[in-house]
Amino acid sequence: MSVIRGTQSNKKRVEIRKKTLWRSIWKERFTYLIIAPAFLSYLIFFFYPIGFAFVTSFTRFDAFQIQALPNIFDNYHRAIVRDPLAKTSLLNVFKYVVITLGVGQSCALILALALNSLKRGTAFYRTVYYFPMITSVVTIATIFRWLFGSDPSAPINTILRLLFDMEPIRWLWESKLVIPIIAVIAIWCGLGFNTIIWMAGLKAIPPEYYEVARIDGASNWRQFWSITLPLLKPVMLFQVVMGFIGGMKEFGLPFVLTQGGPAGASTTPVLLVYQYGFQNLQMGYASALAFLLAFLLIIASLVQFRIYGKSEAYD
C-alpha cells in the first residue's frame, strides 16, 4: 500500500516539476526569445555539423554520397593502424608541440620577467612583441618561406655564408629541420601573446611575498623558484593546455610553408584532415581523423588538469 502511495506521490512530484518547469520557461519567455537566435545558430552551425561529421566518420562519405562501410569502425581502424601518414602527422605535431611549449613558453616567461622588472617602457615593448599576433599567418609564412629559402641567395643562407662560410641549407626541405623551423616561426608569432599572459600572472603575485623573502635573505633565483613559479601554476596550466590544443591544431604555417612536405615531414593532423577531405574527397575518413584528434585533445587536457589540480594551492 505504501509502495503504491509512494509511486503516486512520485508521479505527482514529476507532474508538478514539469508544470513548474514550463511555467518558469513561460515566465522567462522574453529572455528565451532573446537568446533563441544565438542558440539556434549555434545548433545549426556548430552542433549539426559536429553531429553530421560524427555520423559520417563511420561511413564512406565523399561529399556527394554516403555509403555504409563493411566494418563500421573501418575509418578509425585505418587511422590508428593502417595509415602511415596519420602516424607521421601525429609524430610531427608532437615534436612541434614539445618545441613550442618547451622553448616557446620558456622564452615568453623570460621575456615577461624582464619586462616586469622594467620601470619604464613596458607598454612599448609589450606592443612591439604583440605585433606578430596581429599579422596574418599567411603573410608571416610567406615572409619566412623567403627567409628560409634553399637558394644560396636566400637571406638566412646568405648570412650563414657571410658569417661562417657555410654551404646553403635546404631549411624547409630537410625532413629533420622542417618541424623545428615551423616551431620557431610559431614561437616568434606567439611570443607577444604568451608574454602578456605570463606578465598578467606575474602582476597578480602580491609584492609582499617578495619583500618578506628578501628580508629573509632569499636570492632572486630562490624567489623565482619558491614564489614566482609556484604562484604562476594557474597561468602555467592555462598556457600548457592552450598551447597544447593550439599546437595540435596547427594548420596555417605548414600549409603555406611546405604543404606538409617534404614527403609528409611537416604534415600535421589538421592539414591531413584538410588534404583527405578537400583534396582527396575522403570526407568520412577525414571526419574520423578529426574526431580522433578531438578525443586525444580532450584526454590530454583532462590529464593536464589532473596533474596541475593535484598541486598545492597558494592563497
Partner: protein, 482 residues
C-alpha cells in the same frame, strides 16, 4: 501557488533533448550506393515537318478534293544554362562575344554568365554537393578525373562521338584527357606543355651553333656556357624550359614526372627504372652546377640556369607585338647587352628509347550532373572551342595552346616559332594517363622524396623504394574509396 525556478539541470536536460531531437532529425540517411548508368538518348531534332493536308476546293460548282503539301516549322524549345567564366575582363569579353554569336544562330538559347575565378577543389566540392554549380565550369584535367569517378559530372565522350567532333582535337590532347575506360569528364579547351627556350646571343658567345636537340648536346652546351652570376639579379640564363606559352616557369618535378614514364597502371607502380634514369640525369645538372636545387618547385616562378624567369616577365604574347623571335624586353628588366633574341624549339627527350609524356596540364570544361541541358551545353562548348573566330580566345587572351588543331582554329600567333614548338611537342608526345588515386601522392607525398634524390640526400633507388613504401597503402585505400 508555489513556483519552482528552472534549475540548471532542468535547463540542460531540456536543451539536451532538443539538441538530440534536432540532430536525429537532421541525421543523414546511410544508403547503399546506387550506381546509376547514364544512358544518353539522342533526341531526333525536328527542324521542319512536311504534312499533307486535304483541302476541299469548290470549282465551278463541282467539288474537288486536292492534297496540298504544307511545311510546318516548329518553334524551337527554349534552352537555358549557366556558365562559369574566369573573372578577367578580356576573358569575359571573349566569352560574351562567343555567346552573343551563338545566340544569334540559336535564339532559343539563353546562357547566363557567372564570373568567378577558375574554381579550385574547395569551390567545386560544395558546388557539386549542394547542386549549385554552374551548368559548365572550367577546371583542370585532374579535377575531372576526381569528380568523374564520383559520378557527379557528365562523361562527354558520347556527345563528342555523336557530334563527330573528336577529329577536330589533337589526338594526343584528346587521348590525354581520356580516362582509362574511355570517359571524357573534361572537354579539352586549352592545354600546355614544355618547350626549350634558348638565348642565341649567349649561345653564340659560347660557340654553340644551334639550340640542343638531345641530352648530349644539351650537356655540351651547358659546359661551354659561362657560369651565371651568383647574384640572382644579375644572373643571365641561356636556356629556359617554360611549361606554358605565356609564362616561364620550371617544374623539375613535372619534367621528371612526364619524362620518366607512366608511374601507375591503375593497379601497380610501374615507374622504377625509367624514373631512376630521369632523376640521375637531372641530378647531373645540379651536381655540375648548371642548375640550382629544385626545392622551390612550388613557387611557380623559378630562377635557375634553365629557367629564365626574367624572360617570363615580358614574353606574354598578348603584350608583345612583332615577330616572336625578335622581341625587346619591356618593363624593369634591363639586359647588359643588345638582346634578347631567343629561339623556341621542342624540348628533347631525356632518353631516346623512352616515350615522351608531354602534356603538362590541360584545362577544359566540366558539366555537373545538376545540368538539365547537358547536350545543349555541350553543343555550345564545342562551338566556342572549335569556332574559327571564337576559338582564338585560347591563344588570346588565355596565352594557351588551343586543344583543337591549327586547321580548325587559325591565329597568326600559331605560326610563330613559340607556338610551333609547343604544337610540335604536343603532337609528338604520348599522352599521360590520369588516375585520381595517385593525385594525393603526386601532389603531397612524393615531391619531397624526388627532391631529396635530386639534392643527393638519397639515391634515386632509395627515393623510389620509399615512394613505393609510402604510396602502396595510400593507393590501396584510395582505390577502396573509389
Amino acid at each position: 501557488m508555489s513556483e519552482r525556478k528552472l534549475s540548471r539541470r532542468d535547463f540542460l536536460r531540456l536543451a539536451g533533448v532538443a539538441a538530440g531531437a534536432a540532430l536525429a532529425a537532421c541525421q543523414p540517411q546511410v544508403v547503399t550506393q546506387i550506381v546509376k548508368e547514364t544512358q544518353i538518348v539522342k533526341e531526333t531534332e525536328v527542324v521542319e515537318k512536311t504534312v499533307k493536308e486535304t483541302v476541299v476546293v469548290e470549282k465551278e460548282g463541282a467539288t474537288q478534293i486536292v492534297e496540298v503539301e504544307k511545311v510546318i516549322t516548329p518553334t524551337p524549345r527554349p534552352v537555358s544554362f549557366s556558365m562559369q567564366v574566369d573573372a578577367n575582363e578580356k576573358v569575359i569579353a571573349a566569352h560574351q562575344a562567343a555567346i552573343a554569336s551563338y545566340q544569334e544562330m540559336n535564339p532559343n538559347v539563353t546562357i547566363e554568365v557567372i564570373t568567378e575565378p577558375m574554381p579550385g577543389m574547395d569551390q567545386i566540392i560544395p558546388w557539386l554537393a549542394a547542386g549549385t554549380a554552374p551548368d559548365c565550369f572550367r577546371g583542370a584535367l585532374n579535377q575531372g578525373a576526381i569528380f568523374g569517378t564520383k559520378n557527379v559530372i557528365f562523361d562527354m565522350a558520347d556527345y563528342a562521338k555523336s557530334m563527330g567532333v573528336v577529329d577536330k582535337f589533337y589526338e594526343s590532347v584528346w587521348k590525354g584527357y581520356e580516362f582509362k575506360d574511355g570517359q571524357h569528364w573534361v572537354l579539352p579547351s586549352d592545354t600546355n606543355t614544355f618547350a626549350l627556350w634558348s638565348n642565341p646571343v649567349m649561345l653564340e658567345k659560347a660557340g654553340i651553333a644551334a639550340p640542343p636537340t638531345n641530352w648530349t648536346e644539351f650537356l655540351d652546351a651547358c659546359a661551354k656556357l659561362a657560369k651565371p652570376d651568383p647574384d640572382p639579379e644579375k644572373a643571365e640564363y641561356a636556356f629556359g624550359i617554360p611549361t606554358t606559352i605565356g609564362w616561364t616557369s620550371f617544374f623539375m618535378y613535372w619534367w621528371i614526372f612526364r619524362e620518366g614514364s607512366e608511374w601507375y597502371d591503375g593497379k601497380n607502380f610501374i615507374f622504377q627504372e625509367a624514373l631512376a634514369k630521369a632523376i640521375t640525369k637531372l641530378r647531373l645538372l645540379i651536381t655540375e652546377g648548371y642548375l640550382p636545387h629544385m626545392d622551390n618547385w612550388q613557387d611557380f616562378w623559378y630562377k635557375g640556369r634553365l629557367a629564365m624567369e626574367e624572360y617570363g616577365q615580358w614574353v606574354i604574347p598578348g603584350d608583345v607585338p612583332g615577330p616572336w623571335n625578335d622581341n625587346k624586353p619591356q618593363g624593369k628588366w634591363e639586359a647588359p647587352y643588345e638582346r634578347p633574341y631567343f629561339t623556341v624549339t621542342p624540348l628533347f627527350k631525356l632518353e631516346d628509347d623512352i616515350p615522351n609524356y608531354s602534356i603538362l596540364a590541360g584545362f577544359g570544361y566540366m558539366m555537373p550532373k545538376s545540368n538539365d541541358e547537358p547536350e545543349e551545353t555541350f553543343k555550345f562548348l564545342i562551338y566556342q572551342i572549335t569556332d574559327p573566330e571564337h576559338g582564338k580566345m585560347w591563344v588570346l587572351p588565355y596565352n594557351q595552346l588551343p586543344a583543337v588543331k591549327k586547321e580548325v582554329v587559325t591565329h597568326e600567333y600559331l605560326d610563330t616559332p613559340i607556338y610551333q614548338a609547343f604544337t610540335t611537342q604536343i603532337q609528338t608526345a604520348k599522352p599521360f594517363s590520369v588516375y585520381p588515386e595517385i593525385t594525393q601522392l603526386v601532389d603531397q607525398v612524393w615531391p619531397g622524396l624526388i627532391l631529396d634524390a635530386l639534392a643527393g640526400k638519397k639515391t634515386p633507388e632509395q627515393a623510389i623504394a620509399e615512394m613505393v613504401e609510402i604510396g602502396t597503402p595510400i593507393i590501396q585505400e584510395a582505390q577502396s574509396n573509389r
